[in-house]
């Protein structure tokens, strides 16, 4: 899966399922502070990633994830 498609899919479920404001979506956006995702939302991110990409994230995968770009990168890495 190419990078553009990964970004498109993630942005889609963030807006559609997590109800993140569309204009808040930006690579530099902080997942917790800007997108207002809390610890429970991170559990649901694991579910969304599994159903959209067929890969399983674990807690350690999120250690260095701060921005949306970090999140795109971690999925790309998992899929590679």
């Amino acid at each position: 899966m190419n990078k553009e498609l990964i970004v498109e899919k993630i942005n889609y479920f963030l807006v559609d399922e997590f109800e993140v404001e569309e204009d808040e979506i930006a690579p530099a956006a902080n997942l917790k502070e800007t997108l207002e995702l809390d610890s429970l939302d991170f559990v649901d991110l694991v579910v969304a990633v599994e159903s959209n990409f067929g890969v399983k994230l674990v807690g350690e995968d999120f250690v260095d994830v701060v921005t949306l770009q970090d999140f795109y990168d971690i999925i790309e890495k998992k899929l590679s």
Binding site: E17, F18, E19, D38, L40, D41, V43, D44, V46, V47, E50, K56
Partner: protein, 409 residues
């Protein structure tokens, strides 16, 4: 000991999604029972149910709030919004005062089964999602509503089978009467999905009458079982002083709560337990049985349950013969919610001066002939009513509510 008044009510049921709709249905004797074809395929003996649409909460609540709520909590939210508005209780008030919640609920079958099915399929607990646990716990209603409304008083769920909602109001009454709380959101909620009632249907106690609107016939000779139903009802209880201080509307005053346990069979009700609950409620209310104008019977349309309740009412009230009807003839058995919804139904009758009919009462059962049963809507003033609720395990609750009288301080 202080006075406890009712300052707000809300209802979301199979006979109406708000108090105005429900009042019309009660007055007109309209049944909310439908045939659910999915139940036949699922293996049910009886395919009848009270049908209650899930409220659309998307515009009212955030995703985080919604994903923790199953069917019963969604119904309870809809009823509570109406009750808070009815009580003129604003979020600003809830933010700075210790308002509590006591809700009756005794199952979350769909949420539990759906989440376990998901784990079985995925073989991974994480993939069940973050909302599953909050939907599946029995306290789902109180935990969700207390979070949404930012409540800071008492916060718990009462599980007492089909008397859950009634005991929730009774216990709320005591907490306020004894001065421990000033205002409590009380109520009862009940899921209606097919996963929730399968094992109950398995006992063979649901009606197999093929006519949905004729099947629930409490106290009638031809009754053959109950019809499951659900939704939610909310009753705001408040100390008289708090209500006056807020300038809140006062719709009625809770004056008695009687409870008992049969100490016998797990599912077959008796006569002594319910009689004791009614007598205790009368004693607490410090009124004579002759002062009760109306009894909202628990009567679910089962052969033994209705007969034993009829004997208990006759035993307690003797020659006084208050009007009696079972609103379950229209709503079906709202189970965990019933004790709360039947307070709302009776309050609507008291407010609008009528007795709702016990529909489908065509041939009165021998055991119920001593009662003053109302089979057609009766335009009659009600000043004091008693509402019965009984449940599996032999739990009994009787509540007495009086029209609010400001001159009785």
């Amino acid at each position: 000991m202080g006075r406890v008044v009712i300052t707000g009510m809300g209802i979301y049921s199979c006979i109406g999604k708000n108090m105005a709709e429900v009042k019309e249905s009660l007055y007109n004797g309209t049944s909310g029972i439908k045939y659910d074809p999915e139940r036949a395929e699922f293996g049910y003996r009886s395919c009848l149910t009270g049908m209650v649409e899930l409220p659309n909460l998307k515009k009212l609540l955030t995703r985080r709030e919604r994903i923790s709520m199953g069917q019963e909590a969604s119904y309870a939210y809809a009823a509570t919004i109406e009750a808070l508005e009815n009580a003129k209780l604003t979020q600003e008030y809830l933010d700075v005062n210790d308002v509590g919640i006591l809700f009756g609920n005794d199952s979350t079958a769909k949420a539990v089964i759906d989440s376990v099915d998901k784990i079985r399929e995925k073989k991974d607990t994480t993939l069940v999602g973050s909302g599953a646990i909050f939907q599946a716990m029995n306290s789902t209603v109180s935990m969700n509503l207390s979070t949404i409304f930012k409540l800071k008083g008492v916060n718990m769920t009462i599980s007492a089978a089909c008397a859950s909602g009634s005991h929730a109001i009774g216990l709320g009454y005591h907490l306020i009467k004894s001065g421990l709380e000033d205002c409590i959101i009380c109520g009862g909620a009940q899921e209606i999905n097919k996963l929730a009632f399968g094992s109950f249907d398995g006992l063979g106690v649901f009606s197999t009458n093929e006519d949905p609107t004729k099947a629930s016939r409490p106290f009638d000779k031809d009754r053959d079982g109950l019809i499951p139903s659900g939704g939610a009802a909310t009753v705001i209880l408040e100390s008289y002083e708090s209500a006056v201080k807020r300038g809140a509307p006062i719709y009625g005053e809770v004056i008695g709560y009687g409870f008992s346990s049969n100490g016998e069979h797990i599912s077959t009700p008796n006569v002594d337990g319910p009689s004791k609950a009614m007598n205790k409620a009368l004693k607490m209310a410090q009124i004579d049985a002759s002062e009760i104008d109306y009894v909202n019977a628990h009567a679910t349309s089962t052969p033994v349950g209705d007969a034993n309740e009829a004997k208990a009412i006759a035993k307690v009230f003797g020659k006084h013969r208050p009007y009696v009807s079972s609103t379950k003839s229209m709503t079906g058995h709202e189970c965990w919610m019933a004790g709360a919804s039947e307070i709302v139904y009776s309050m609507l009758m008291m407010e609008h001066s009528f007795v709702a009919p016990n529909i489908n009462l065509e041939n009165i059962d021998e055991d119920a002939k001593a009662l003053n049963l109302v089979s057609k809507t009766l335009n009659k003033k009600i000043d004091v009513f008693l509402s019965n609720s009984f449940g599996f395990g032999g739990t009994n609750s009787a509540l007495i509510v009086k029209k609010f009288d400001n001159g009785n301080e």
